[in-house]
Symmetry: C2
Subunit: 228 residues, 2 copies
Amino acid sequence: MRSGEKPEIARLPLFRDMDDTLRERVFSGSFLQVFPPQLVLFELGQRADFLHVLVDGLVELSVNSGGRDTTMRIVEPVTSFILAAVVNDLPYLMTARTLEPSRVLLVPAALIREVIRQDAALMQATMRELALAYRDLVRALADMKMRQSAERLGNYLLQQESQQTAAGTIHLKGEKRLLASLLGMTPENLSRAFSTLASHGVRVNGGKITIIDRDALCEFSRPDPIPV
Amino acid sequence: MRSGEKPEIARLPLFRDMDDTLRERVFSGSFLQVFPPQLVLFELGQRADFLHVLVDGLVELSVNSGGRDTTMRIVEPVTSFILAAVVNDLPYLMTARTLEPSRVLLVPAALIREVIRQDAALMQATMRELALAYRDLVRALADMKMRQSAERLGNYLLQQESQQTAAGTIHLKGEKRLLASLLGMTPENLSRAFSTLASHGVRVNGGKITIIDRDALCEFSRPDPIPV
DNA sequence: CGAACCCTTGATGGCGATCAAACGCCGTGG
DNA sequence: CCACGGCGTTTGATCGCCATCAAGGGTTCG
């Protein structure tokens, strides 16, 4: 891939501050690939061959073990994923699957590791990214351990609302069953959780959610006091 | 603190490969402090002032929010903790409390951040450490979402056994109520989970656990196929 | 138009939380 | 030295959240 082709990749926090010629080297050694929906990009247990950057589309990261399955993250463009497996050259802990037609930049793991060693700015950005990802997971784990399902949904909605453009309105990506799995519940109970939130300021219309009473939702969900 | 004082700190993966004079600079700017049990070292929401290294004793990292409380990690010597908050200069997401009389090395956050910028080996070690910690949390979250309580306990025991010296024998650190909170259950249910595991090759004697039938425990707990 | 499939709603059951009480351990004070 | 009280653990009883099973409505796609 050539560098100018996808300026939004170069603008990612991960790549933004690094040396231009090294960035060019990374991109020219990588390739942009198009995938149909429902395609498995890699599976848990495989050696981490590529750092992935989702350019367009939607990807699910899930863990499956012993017949059970749970989605760990929904990746939206433009974001890199599985950085942690790549930097330490360890097997993937998750399986990645496209949910929509997607374009993914595949950066060979050995290449990115080599350039990380050469470029302090890239290494620092990697370190920061990992630290932020770690903190996200700390929150997610505490959420799962301390809150019950409707509260988790409420907090998810509040968090989504804060980082989507239109205030008070949220568009769910993917199917509701996916959100259910992300929040650690069944589709049936997600549906019931939405009905519960109806009495706390939330209106649902398909994949479009409206928060008509933010205060009521906050009081019910007791969101994390520390901002992200 | 002087450098030769605590060679096992210098041998930590985090500090092992860095430049000697810079390591000396880090240690000389830090101080080793002794704390009594049950003392709060820092609280969730505070600005991260120090990178902590537990030299001796036992520390609990917990999250408390909305009247609820859950322990996220039990820190044993010699280990650093809350690296993620320090590198990004963000508030702590967890509260730290000593469980036993403890000695902790306090490294000023600004100092460690400065030296990280100067020393590529330290930065790389930080990056690796964060990536490994991230992967641990991915496992912990998947564990919490997919397994029920007795299975979680079984896996915890198998994991502890593999990283403690004596094969087949595990010494729990801290009280059982602490382990219960770490595993996301109540003390009552931890007790019941131990009884369940009695029919799967586990014997309990106070804080001393013996795995008398490893295969049976594995079959019951279905441990993660991917090694740590 | 029919067949999947997803979402929703209802009925039932199980895991785990809560409440309650008894036991054992340990440190204190009589 | 022993009695007592506090605390953690264990065991039992009950309750509530959520999973599971089941069925019906809506949408999409062949």
